[in-house]
């Protein structure tokens, strides 16, 4: 994975910029420091008036040609995501961040295949976005939770990561690089795929993982942490440990069938890989703060 894609200066376009949410967040992202260089409105009838200072194009190919954008934020309805991904890849976009929730799984199979064929990187669907706190964000991670600091973050859940990071920030522990990988079962970057990125990321001193029941991503992560000899401390919180079997709890990926995807299997795998696994928000915040808060670090040194 090309780590320069996560550089704070990466030029970004927004697909679906003329929608209500696209318009709002284009401006919020710009204010945060993100280099929003353009937008795409694919519908033939859409207005292509600039949004503030941001030019609007008919396709990603046009937008990339005019702006040299490398990343795109996809803010289009669920059934339009497959088409928007095709447009982005055809236009040469290298990093796709897809916030859309509710993308059909069979569409996601096609999407992931296309992204892999092109050698592009995709975050999401169902991601709240990515951020280098204090520098840039692609998506809608809330400013209240974003604080520069030593903690790399990867999370299946937006809101649970906001909550934990907000509490840690209040304890003086901010984030180095935050990647919301989203709660869908079939998606772009999975936890395990992100390990090399955080391994080599100099500003990241420890890793926070917000997982949940369903799927096998936590188990895959545990394997890769061991195989890659990941040396930074890893803290993990798993949501949904009391969720009923066979019922989708909001995230399409959070679905248990039989013994696959259960909390017990994830806790065991992560624990064996040396991850500090916690059951409550309070406990993970205390543990990470004890190890990483500025006062603690002074005492240790």
């Amino acid at each position: 994975m090309d780590s320069t894609l996560f550089d704070p200066a990466v030029p970004v376009i927004i697909q679906g910029i003329t929608g209500r949410a696209g318009r709002t967040h284009a401006q919020l992202m710009q204010r945060y420091g993100t280099r929003v260089v353009g937008g795409v409105a694919a519908s033939a009838t859409a207005s292509r008036e600039p949004i503030g200072s941001i030019p609007v194009f008919a396709s990603c190919a046009d937008a990339v040609a005019a702006t040299k954008a490398r990343a795109s934020l996809l803010m289009v309805p669920p059934l339009d995501v497959l088409g928007a991904v095709e447009d982005a890849l055809a236009g040469g976009v290298e990093l796709l961040v897809c916030i859309t929730e509710g993308v059909p799984v069979h569409d996601a199979l096609s999407i992931v295949r296309l992204v892999r064929q092109r050698g592009a990187v995709m975050v999401g669907p169902s991601t709240p976005g990515i951020a280098v706190p204090g520098r840039m964000k692609i998506g809608f991670l809330p400013d209240a939770a974003l604080t520069p600091g030593p903690l790399g973050v990867m999370s299946k859940s937006g809101t649970l990561s906001y909550e934990v990071c907000y509490r840690l920030a209040q304890r003086g522990v901010g984030q180095s690089l935050w990647i919301g990988s989203g709660g869908d079962p079939v998606k772009g970057a999975r936890f395990a795929d992100l390990v090399p990125l955080f391994q080599s990321h100099a500003e990241t001193q420890a890793l926070l993982v917000i997982g949940e029941i369903g799927g096998t991503e936590e188990e895959e992560l545990a394997e890769v942490l061991v195989r890659a000899r990941f040396t930074k401390p890893v803290f993990a919180l798993l949501a949904g440990t009391t969720a009923p079997e066979g019922v989708t709890m909001g995230h399409a990926g959070a679905l248990i069938h039989g013994t696959r995807g259960t909390a017990a299997s994830k806790v065991a795998a992560l624990g064996k890989a040396g991850v500090r696994v916690h059951a409550t928000m309070h406990d993970i915040v205390e543990d990470a703060a004890r190890m990483l808060a500025p006062a603690a670090r002074v005492t240790l040194s």
């Binding site: 859940s157 906001y162 909550e163 991503e217 009391t242 709890m249 909001g250």
Partner: protein, 383 residues
């Protein structure tokens, strides 16, 4: 959406897949009125969970009295916490062999996993002795299926050669995430029949699956979560009908975590809720719906609202909360609203100026503390 076996078989039969003839008797329904098949039958409890055989929820019957006795013994019961919605009374099949087929979406590979075995039965997933498995992209599925089946011994080979491509078509056409046939009965004359089917349809695809939509419209009682999601566009799962704490929350992970932590403290949350407040577009409909589902459960003593606003404007949320509560006057329990994010100050003013019995608290631990104090009778009642 996990289809009960009866609906799974009806869907397969509509595609020309052979299934034993059978009828559905709803829980508490009249068996006498049902046109049950002649001869020996199976009585199969209809519940959206696996492990029915081991739990005694599938039994053989040889007479109408037998059927009545079995149903009386199971009616009103739950299996793995899931209610029994009714019974499929089905012609018993005399078979020579049992085989196994499953198709599922594999998230790690981002492909479809096919598993076939010449042996069906209860523990096939644990004992995959002669089973064959492969991963395929949708357009590779027909070829991969053919190769896999060719590796099986006869007579499973011939039957699965015919059955699996047809099942794979249905898997793709209905955008399933799981289609498992276990057992697939192989008959002495070379024909085959689906003994049992587990079919899970992707909830996100239901908007473009007319047959599944019709099923949901007819049976919202059997599929309350998927029916609600289709109509209202968000997720709500009742986890405890006797719950004391109603949750109006945004975000799946945080809502799940809240339930886990409240339960760990011996408390009883009513529901999971990912209301997706970022998609309200100025309409209180989702809030009204959740408030109505909450007031329908008399055990609820307090409501916890939790919104950590990423995409949501809290001022707009506060306005809609007040509007929605005005539409659901039956909601008389105290509300603790934990709001944090964009436009919090304006939200505070809007809630303060309303006559809603709501306490605003920006810290989640404090908000939970207020909720527990209310339950324990230590809360100050306002409004």
């Amino acid at each position: 959406m996990f289809l009960i076996e009866h609906h799974g078989k009806e869907l397969l039969a509509a595609h020309g897949i052979p299934v034993p003839s059978g009828v559905f008797v709803p829980a508490g329904g009249d068996i006498g009125a049902a046109r049950t098949p002649d001869g020996p039958v199976m009585v199969k409890a209809q519940v959206a969970a696996g492990g029915r055989g081991k739990a005694g929820a599938v039994q053989a019957a040889s007479s109408p009295d037998d059927v009545a006795r079995i149903i009386a013994g199971l009616d009103g019961r739950a299996l793995n916490g899931k209610p029994i919605h009714g019974f499929r009374i089905e012609q018993r099949v005399s078979f020579a062999h049992e085989a196994y087929v499953s198709l599922s979406v594999d998230g790690e590979a981002a492909r479809i996993r096919i598993l076939v075995s010449p042996e069906g039965g209860v523990d096939v997933e644990e004992n995959q002795g002669r089973a064959r498995s492969a991963l395929a992209l949708p357009d590779q599925l027909p070829d991969v299926v053919k190769e896999l089946c060719a590796e099986l011994p006869s007579p499973a080979r011939e039957a699965l050669n015919d059955a699996v491509p047809r099942l794979a078509d249905i898997f793709l056409q209905h955008e399933a995430t799981l289609l498992e046939v276990n057992p697939l009965f192989l008959l002495a004359d070379g024909n085959w029949v689906v003994g049992d089917v587990k079919l899970v349809i992707d909830d996100n695809a239901i908007v473009r699956q007319p047959a599944i939509q019709t099923l949901l419209e007819r049976h919202p009682d059997i599929y309350p979560e998927s029916a609600r999601k289709l109509v209202h566009g968000f997720d709500y799962v009742e986890v405890d009908a006797q719950g004391e704490i109603g949750l109006i929350t945004t975000g799946a992970g945080l809502s799940m975590q809240l339930i886990d932590e409240l339960k760990a403290q011996g408390r009883r949350p009513l529901n999971f809720c990912d209301i997706r407040s970022g998609q309200f577009r100025g309409d209180p409909a989702r809030l009204i719906a959740v408030m109505q589902w909450i007031v329908a459960r008399p055990g609820v003593k307090v409501v916890l609202v939790n919104i950590f606003a990423g995409i949501t404007d809290l001022a707009e949320f506060a306005r809609l909360l007040v509007q929605a509560a005005g539409q659901v006057p039956e909601l008389r329990v105290p509300i603790v609203a934990r709001l944090i994010g964009r436009n919090l100050d304006e939200a505070r003013q809007i809630l303060g100026a309303s006559d809603l019995a709501v306490t605003l608290e920006p810290d989640l631990d404090h908000a939970i503390g207020l909720v527990l104090a209310t339950l324990d009778g230590k809360g100050e009642h306002r409004g």
